[in-house]
Symmetry: C2
Subunit: 188 residues, 2 copies
Protein backbone atom coordinates (compact mmCIF):
# COMPACT_ATOMS: atom_id res chain seq x y z
CA UNK A 1 0.00 0.00 0.00
CA UNK A 2 1.25 3.41 -0.92
CA UNK A 3 1.99 5.88 1.82
CA UNK A 4 0.70 8.90 -0.05
CA UNK A 5 -2.24 10.98 0.91
CA UNK A 6 -5.75 9.68 1.47
CA UNK A 7 -6.77 10.24 -2.11
CA UNK A 8 -4.01 7.96 -3.40
CA UNK A 9 -4.79 5.27 -0.88
CA UNK A 10 -8.45 5.22 -1.89
CA UNK A 11 -7.52 5.14 -5.56
CA UNK A 12 -5.04 2.32 -5.14
CA UNK A 13 -7.50 0.17 -3.21
CA UNK A 14 -10.36 0.92 -5.58
CA UNK A 15 -8.18 -0.01 -8.51
CA UNK A 16 -7.42 -3.40 -6.98
CA UNK A 17 -11.03 -4.17 -6.07
CA UNK A 18 -12.48 -3.04 -9.40
CA UNK A 19 -10.12 -5.36 -11.22
CA UNK A 20 -11.10 -8.40 -9.21
CA UNK A 21 -14.81 -7.77 -8.69
CA UNK A 22 -15.81 -5.26 -11.32
CA UNK A 23 -17.51 -1.91 -10.90
CA UNK A 24 -20.88 -3.09 -9.65
CA UNK A 25 -19.35 -5.82 -7.54
CA UNK A 26 -17.32 -3.32 -5.54
CA UNK A 27 -19.00 -1.17 -2.91
CA UNK A 28 -17.88 2.20 -1.68
CA UNK A 29 -17.95 0.85 1.86
CA UNK A 30 -15.64 -1.97 0.86
CA UNK A 31 -13.16 0.48 -0.61
CA UNK A 32 -13.20 2.50 2.59
CA UNK A 33 -12.85 -0.51 4.86
CA UNK A 34 -10.05 -2.17 2.93
CA UNK A 35 -8.09 1.01 2.37
CA UNK A 36 -8.39 2.09 5.98
CA UNK A 37 -8.98 5.56 4.63
CA UNK A 38 -11.13 7.90 6.67
CA UNK A 39 -14.73 7.21 5.80
CA UNK A 40 -15.91 10.76 5.70
CA UNK A 41 -13.36 11.95 3.17
CA UNK A 42 -14.52 9.98 0.19
CA UNK A 43 -16.86 12.57 -1.25
CA UNK A 44 -14.42 15.31 -0.38
CA UNK A 45 -11.76 13.84 -2.66
CA UNK A 46 -14.21 12.55 -5.27
CA UNK A 47 -17.20 14.90 -5.40
CA UNK A 48 -18.71 12.98 -8.31
CA UNK A 49 -18.82 9.76 -6.32
CA UNK A 50 -18.22 6.25 -7.56
CA UNK A 51 -17.99 7.08 -11.24
CA UNK A 52 -15.20 9.58 -10.62
CA UNK A 53 -13.30 7.06 -8.51
CA UNK A 54 -13.63 4.49 -11.29
CA UNK A 55 -12.38 6.87 -13.96
CA UNK A 56 -9.33 7.85 -11.93
CA UNK A 57 -8.69 4.22 -10.97
CA UNK A 58 -8.75 3.14 -14.61
CA UNK A 59 -6.24 5.85 -15.49
CA UNK A 60 -4.04 4.53 -12.70
CA UNK A 61 -4.31 0.98 -14.00
CA UNK A 62 -3.40 2.22 -17.45
CA UNK A 63 -0.23 3.83 -16.12
CA UNK A 64 0.76 0.73 -14.17
CA UNK A 65 0.38 -1.66 -17.07
CA UNK A 66 2.27 0.75 -19.29
CA UNK A 67 5.17 0.99 -16.86
CA UNK A 68 5.60 -2.73 -16.38
CA UNK A 69 5.13 -3.47 -20.07
CA UNK A 70 7.75 -0.90 -20.98
CA UNK A 71 10.14 -2.47 -18.53
CA UNK A 72 9.52 -6.06 -19.75
CA UNK A 73 9.92 -5.15 -23.41
CA UNK A 74 13.18 -3.27 -23.01
CA UNK A 75 15.15 -6.18 -21.65
CA UNK A 76 15.57 -8.34 -24.74
CA UNK A 77 17.22 -8.19 -28.15
CA UNK A 78 14.50 -9.52 -30.46
CA UNK A 79 10.77 -8.85 -30.71
CA UNK A 80 9.95 -12.51 -30.06
CA UNK A 81 12.12 -12.65 -26.97
CA UNK A 82 10.80 -9.35 -25.69
CA UNK A 83 7.12 -10.24 -25.97
CA UNK A 84 7.64 -13.80 -24.75
CA UNK A 85 9.37 -12.37 -21.69
CA UNK A 86 6.46 -9.98 -21.20
CA UNK A 87 3.86 -12.74 -21.43
CA UNK A 88 5.86 -15.10 -19.23
CA UNK A 89 5.98 -12.52 -16.44
CA UNK A 90 2.22 -12.11 -16.61
CA UNK A 91 1.74 -15.87 -16.60
CA UNK A 92 3.74 -16.17 -13.39
CA UNK A 93 1.45 -13.75 -11.61
CA UNK A 94 -1.61 -15.79 -12.54
CA UNK A 95 -0.07 -18.94 -11.07
CA UNK A 96 -0.41 -17.20 -7.74
CA UNK A 97 -3.74 -15.86 -6.59
CA UNK A 98 -3.25 -12.32 -7.76
CA UNK A 99 -4.12 -10.63 -10.98
CA UNK A 100 -1.76 -8.28 -12.76
CA UNK A 101 -2.33 -4.66 -11.86
CA UNK A 102 -3.76 -2.85 -14.83
CA UNK A 103 -4.35 -5.90 -16.96
CA UNK A 104 -7.99 -6.30 -16.09
CA UNK A 105 -9.30 -3.07 -17.50
CA UNK A 106 -11.31 -5.38 -19.71
CA UNK A 107 -13.64 -6.35 -16.91
CA UNK A 108 -14.71 -2.76 -16.27
CA UNK A 109 -14.73 -1.99 -19.97
CA UNK A 110 -17.09 -4.91 -20.63
CA UNK A 111 -19.61 -4.16 -17.95
CA UNK A 112 -19.65 -0.38 -18.42
CA UNK A 113 -19.26 0.05 -22.18
CA UNK A 114 -22.97 0.04 -22.89
CA UNK A 115 -24.10 2.23 -20.01
CA UNK A 116 -21.39 4.74 -19.01
CA UNK A 117 -19.88 6.46 -22.01
CA UNK A 118 -17.30 8.37 -19.96
CA UNK A 119 -15.87 5.17 -18.51
CA UNK A 120 -15.86 3.49 -21.91
CA UNK A 121 -13.76 6.34 -23.27
CA UNK A 122 -11.19 6.11 -20.49
CA UNK A 123 -10.81 2.39 -21.13
CA UNK A 124 -10.49 3.02 -24.84
CA UNK A 125 -7.74 5.52 -24.20
CA UNK A 126 -5.88 3.09 -21.91
CA UNK A 127 -5.94 0.43 -24.61
CA UNK A 128 -4.71 2.93 -27.18
CA UNK A 129 -1.71 3.86 -25.04
CA UNK A 130 -0.92 0.22 -24.52
CA UNK A 131 -1.08 -0.54 -28.23
CA UNK A 132 1.06 2.48 -29.00
CA UNK A 133 3.78 1.13 -26.72
CA UNK A 134 3.61 -2.26 -28.46
CA UNK A 135 3.71 -0.60 -31.85
CA UNK A 136 6.79 1.44 -30.96
CA UNK A 137 8.51 -1.65 -29.64
CA UNK A 138 7.80 -3.59 -32.82
CA UNK A 139 9.04 -0.70 -34.95
CA UNK A 140 12.25 -0.70 -32.97
CA UNK A 141 12.68 -4.31 -34.08
CA UNK A 142 12.26 -3.33 -37.73
CA UNK A 143 8.60 -4.08 -38.26
CA UNK A 144 6.98 -1.85 -40.83
CA UNK A 145 4.63 0.73 -39.27
CA UNK A 146 1.28 -0.56 -40.48
CA UNK A 147 2.09 -4.16 -39.67
CA UNK A 148 3.37 -3.11 -36.25
CA UNK A 149 0.06 -1.41 -35.50
CA UNK A 150 -1.93 -4.46 -36.52
CA UNK A 151 0.23 -6.80 -34.50
CA UNK A 152 -0.12 -4.54 -31.49
CA UNK A 153 -3.89 -4.93 -31.61
CA UNK A 154 -3.57 -8.68 -31.95
CA UNK A 155 -1.13 -8.99 -29.06
CA UNK A 156 -3.34 -6.75 -26.93
CA UNK A 157 -6.32 -9.02 -27.69
CA UNK A 158 -4.27 -12.11 -27.02
CA UNK A 159 -3.17 -10.90 -23.59
CA UNK A 160 -6.57 -9.64 -22.56
CA UNK A 161 -8.26 -12.89 -23.60
CA UNK A 162 -5.63 -15.21 -22.18
CA UNK A 163 -5.83 -13.36 -18.87
CA UNK A 164 -9.52 -14.16 -18.63
CA UNK A 165 -8.82 -17.81 -19.34
CA UNK A 166 -6.02 -17.75 -16.78
CA UNK A 167 -8.34 -16.36 -14.13
CA UNK A 168 -11.04 -18.87 -15.01
CA UNK A 169 -8.58 -21.75 -14.83
CA UNK A 170 -6.66 -20.33 -11.89
CA UNK A 171 -3.46 -20.98 -13.75
CA UNK A 172 -1.03 -19.23 -16.05
CA UNK A 173 -1.02 -21.97 -18.69
CA UNK A 174 -3.22 -20.15 -21.21
CA UNK A 175 -0.65 -17.35 -21.25
CA UNK A 176 2.16 -19.82 -21.75
CA UNK A 177 0.26 -21.33 -24.68
CA UNK A 178 0.09 -17.85 -26.15
CA UNK A 179 3.79 -17.25 -25.58
CA UNK A 180 4.59 -20.46 -27.43
CA UNK A 181 2.73 -19.33 -30.55
CA UNK A 182 4.16 -15.81 -30.61
CA UNK A 183 7.09 -16.69 -32.91
CA UNK A 184 4.64 -17.68 -35.67
CA UNK A 185 2.91 -14.33 -35.33
CA UNK A 186 6.02 -12.15 -35.17
CA UNK A 187 7.62 -12.96 -38.52
CA UNK A 188 8.78 -10.11 -40.69
Amino acid sequence: MKKGNTRDVILHTASELFQRQGYHGTGLNQIIEKSGAPKGSLYYHFPNGKEEIAIEAIKLMGHHILESAREDLSEKDTAIEAFQHHVAKIADVFDGKACVDGLQIGLIASEMASSHESIRLVCQSAYENWQTLYTECLQRFDFETERAKELAVVINSLLEGASILAQTNESGWPLRAVAKQLPALLVH
Copy 2:
Protein backbone atom coordinates in the same frame (compact mmCIF):
# COMPACT_ATOMS: atom_id res chain seq x y z
CA MET B 1 -37.57 -13.85 -27.65
CA LYS B 2 -38.31 -17.54 -27.38
CA LYS B 3 -41.87 -18.67 -26.98
CA GLY B 4 -41.06 -21.46 -24.56
CA ASN B 5 -42.20 -21.67 -21.00
CA THR B 6 -41.54 -19.06 -18.35
CA ARG B 7 -38.30 -20.68 -17.24
CA ASP B 8 -36.81 -20.39 -20.70
CA VAL B 9 -37.90 -16.79 -21.10
CA ILE B 10 -36.27 -15.82 -17.81
CA LEU B 11 -33.10 -17.67 -18.73
CA HIS B 12 -32.88 -16.11 -22.17
CA THR B 13 -33.33 -12.60 -20.82
CA ALA B 14 -30.92 -13.16 -17.95
CA SER B 15 -28.32 -14.47 -20.36
CA GLU B 16 -28.57 -11.33 -22.45
CA LEU B 17 -28.41 -8.94 -19.50
CA PHE B 18 -25.54 -10.74 -17.77
CA GLN B 19 -23.49 -10.51 -20.91
CA ARG B 20 -23.97 -6.78 -21.28
CA GLN B 21 -23.91 -5.68 -17.64
CA GLY B 22 -22.31 -8.50 -15.73
CA TYR B 23 -23.63 -10.42 -12.75
CA HIS B 24 -23.64 -7.65 -10.17
CA GLY B 25 -24.83 -5.08 -12.66
CA THR B 26 -27.98 -7.04 -13.39
CA GLY B 27 -30.84 -7.05 -10.92
CA LEU B 28 -33.48 -9.71 -10.53
CA ASN B 29 -36.12 -7.03 -10.99
CA GLN B 30 -34.60 -6.03 -14.29
CA ILE B 31 -34.70 -9.61 -15.52
CA ILE B 32 -38.37 -9.88 -14.59
CA GLU B 33 -39.30 -6.56 -16.15
CA LYS B 34 -37.46 -7.06 -19.41
CA SER B 35 -38.57 -10.65 -19.87
CA GLY B 36 -42.17 -9.86 -19.06
CA ALA B 37 -42.18 -13.11 -17.10
CA PRO B 38 -44.53 -13.37 -14.15
CA LYS B 39 -42.80 -11.82 -11.18
CA GLY B 40 -43.86 -14.37 -8.65
CA SER B 41 -42.51 -17.37 -10.47
CA LEU B 42 -38.83 -16.59 -10.29
CA TYR B 43 -38.07 -18.45 -7.10
CA TYR B 44 -40.38 -21.25 -8.15
CA HIS B 45 -38.25 -22.01 -11.20
CA PHE B 46 -34.95 -21.14 -9.55
CA PRO B 47 -35.15 -22.00 -5.85
CA ASN B 48 -31.49 -21.10 -5.33
CA GLY B 49 -32.03 -17.56 -6.55
CA LYS B 50 -29.68 -15.44 -8.59
CA GLU B 51 -26.71 -17.78 -8.50
CA GLU B 52 -28.76 -20.61 -9.98
CA ILE B 53 -30.08 -18.35 -12.73
CA ALA B 54 -26.52 -17.31 -13.55
CA ILE B 55 -25.26 -20.88 -13.72
CA GLU B 56 -28.05 -21.97 -16.05
CA ALA B 57 -27.66 -18.81 -18.13
CA ILE B 58 -23.94 -19.46 -18.59
CA LYS B 59 -24.67 -23.01 -19.73
CA LEU B 60 -27.10 -21.58 -22.25
CA MET B 61 -24.50 -19.10 -23.51
CA GLY B 62 -22.05 -21.96 -23.88
CA HIS B 63 -24.48 -23.90 -26.04
CA HIS B 64 -25.24 -20.90 -28.24
CA ILE B 65 -21.64 -20.05 -28.94
CA LEU B 66 -20.92 -23.70 -29.66
CA GLU B 67 -23.76 -23.97 -32.14
CA SER B 68 -22.87 -20.86 -34.10
CA ALA B 69 -19.15 -21.66 -34.04
CA ARG B 70 -19.82 -25.18 -35.33
CA GLU B 71 -21.89 -23.75 -38.13
CA ASP B 72 -19.31 -21.10 -39.11
CA LEU B 73 -16.44 -23.56 -39.12
CA SER B 74 -18.13 -26.19 -41.28
CA GLU B 75 -18.63 -23.97 -44.30
CA LYS B 76 -15.09 -23.70 -45.61
CA ASP B 77 -12.37 -25.90 -47.07
CA THR B 78 -9.25 -24.77 -45.22
CA ALA B 79 -8.56 -24.00 -41.57
CA ILE B 80 -7.60 -20.42 -42.38
CA GLU B 81 -10.75 -19.79 -44.37
CA ALA B 82 -12.92 -21.45 -41.75
CA PHE B 83 -11.61 -19.42 -38.82
CA GLN B 84 -11.45 -16.20 -40.79
CA HIS B 85 -15.10 -16.70 -41.69
CA HIS B 86 -15.89 -17.35 -38.04
CA VAL B 87 -14.13 -14.19 -36.88
CA ALA B 88 -15.60 -12.09 -39.67
CA LYS B 89 -19.12 -13.03 -38.66
CA ILE B 90 -18.42 -12.02 -35.07
CA ALA B 91 -16.89 -8.74 -36.24
CA ASP B 92 -20.06 -7.89 -38.15
CA VAL B 93 -22.14 -8.25 -35.02
CA PHE B 94 -19.95 -5.80 -33.12
CA ASP B 95 -20.35 -3.18 -35.85
CA GLY B 96 -23.97 -3.05 -34.77
CA LYS B 97 -24.86 -2.36 -31.18
CA ALA B 98 -25.28 -5.98 -30.13
CA CYS B 99 -22.83 -8.40 -28.63
CA VAL B 100 -22.58 -11.98 -29.77
CA ASP B 101 -24.67 -14.33 -27.69
CA GLY B 102 -22.42 -16.56 -25.67
CA LEU B 103 -19.21 -14.74 -26.46
CA GLN B 104 -19.16 -12.64 -23.35
CA ILE B 105 -18.84 -15.38 -20.79
CA GLY B 106 -15.56 -13.67 -20.00
CA LEU B 107 -17.27 -10.81 -18.23
CA ILE B 108 -19.01 -13.07 -15.75
CA ALA B 109 -15.95 -15.28 -15.46
CA SER B 110 -13.78 -12.28 -14.58
CA GLU B 111 -16.00 -10.78 -11.94
CA MET B 112 -17.01 -14.08 -10.29
CA ALA B 113 -13.85 -16.20 -10.52
CA SER B 114 -12.49 -15.05 -7.18
CA SER B 115 -15.72 -15.21 -5.18
CA HIS B 116 -18.10 -17.85 -6.56
CA GLU B 117 -16.34 -21.14 -7.22
CA SER B 118 -19.43 -22.79 -8.72
CA ILE B 119 -19.81 -20.09 -11.35
CA ARG B 120 -16.09 -20.18 -12.10
CA LEU B 121 -16.36 -23.90 -12.82
CA VAL B 122 -19.30 -23.49 -15.21
CA CYS B 123 -17.36 -20.85 -17.13
CA GLN B 124 -14.30 -23.07 -17.20
CA SER B 125 -16.36 -25.89 -18.64
CA ALA B 126 -17.87 -23.63 -21.31
CA TYR B 127 -14.40 -22.59 -22.42
CA GLU B 128 -13.28 -26.22 -22.51
CA ASN B 129 -16.14 -27.20 -24.80
CA TRP B 130 -15.39 -24.31 -27.05
CA GLN B 131 -11.70 -25.20 -27.28
CA THR B 132 -12.58 -28.82 -27.94
CA LEU B 133 -14.65 -27.77 -30.94
CA TYR B 134 -11.75 -25.69 -32.26
CA THR B 135 -9.34 -28.55 -31.68
CA GLU B 136 -11.52 -31.01 -33.59
CA CYS B 137 -11.86 -28.55 -36.44
CA LEU B 138 -8.10 -28.07 -36.67
CA GLN B 139 -7.53 -31.82 -36.57
CA ARG B 140 -9.94 -32.21 -39.46
CA PHE B 141 -7.63 -29.89 -41.39
CA ASP B 142 -4.63 -32.10 -40.63
CA PHE B 143 -3.15 -30.31 -37.66
CA GLU B 144 -1.39 -32.64 -35.28
CA THR B 145 -3.33 -33.17 -32.03
CA GLU B 146 -1.09 -31.36 -29.58
CA ARG B 147 -0.60 -28.37 -31.82
CA ALA B 148 -4.34 -28.25 -32.50
CA LYS B 149 -5.03 -28.05 -28.76
CA GLU B 150 -2.54 -25.24 -28.29
CA LEU B 151 -3.88 -23.27 -31.21
CA ALA B 152 -7.41 -23.71 -29.90
CA VAL B 153 -6.41 -22.00 -26.65
CA VAL B 154 -4.74 -19.19 -28.54
CA ILE B 155 -7.71 -18.64 -30.85
CA ASN B 156 -10.04 -18.71 -27.87
CA SER B 157 -7.93 -16.03 -26.17
CA LEU B 158 -7.75 -14.00 -29.33
CA LEU B 159 -11.53 -13.94 -29.76
CA GLU B 160 -12.27 -13.22 -26.15
CA GLY B 161 -9.78 -10.37 -26.01
CA ALA B 162 -10.68 -8.87 -29.36
CA SER B 163 -14.33 -8.89 -28.35
CA ILE B 164 -13.54 -6.72 -25.36
CA LEU B 165 -11.64 -4.31 -27.57
CA ALA B 166 -14.52 -4.33 -30.04
CA GLN B 167 -16.99 -3.45 -27.31
CA THR B 168 -14.72 -0.74 -25.96
CA ASN B 169 -14.26 0.76 -29.40
CA GLU B 170 -17.84 0.13 -30.51
CA SER B 171 -16.52 -1.36 -33.70
CA GLY B 172 -15.57 -4.72 -35.15
CA TRP B 173 -12.16 -3.59 -36.37
CA PRO B 174 -10.12 -5.33 -33.65
CA LEU B 175 -11.66 -8.61 -34.77
CA ARG B 176 -10.81 -7.88 -38.37
CA ALA B 177 -7.22 -7.17 -37.35
CA VAL B 178 -7.19 -10.58 -35.71
CA ALA B 179 -8.64 -12.26 -38.80
CA LYS B 180 -5.90 -10.73 -40.92
CA GLN B 181 -3.15 -12.27 -38.79
CA LEU B 182 -4.71 -15.73 -38.58
CA PRO B 183 -2.86 -17.11 -41.62
CA ALA B 184 0.48 -16.57 -39.87
CA LEU B 185 -0.78 -18.50 -36.87
CA LEU B 186 -2.37 -21.40 -38.74
CA VAL B 187 0.67 -22.77 -40.57
CA HIS B 188 1.32 -26.48 -40.42
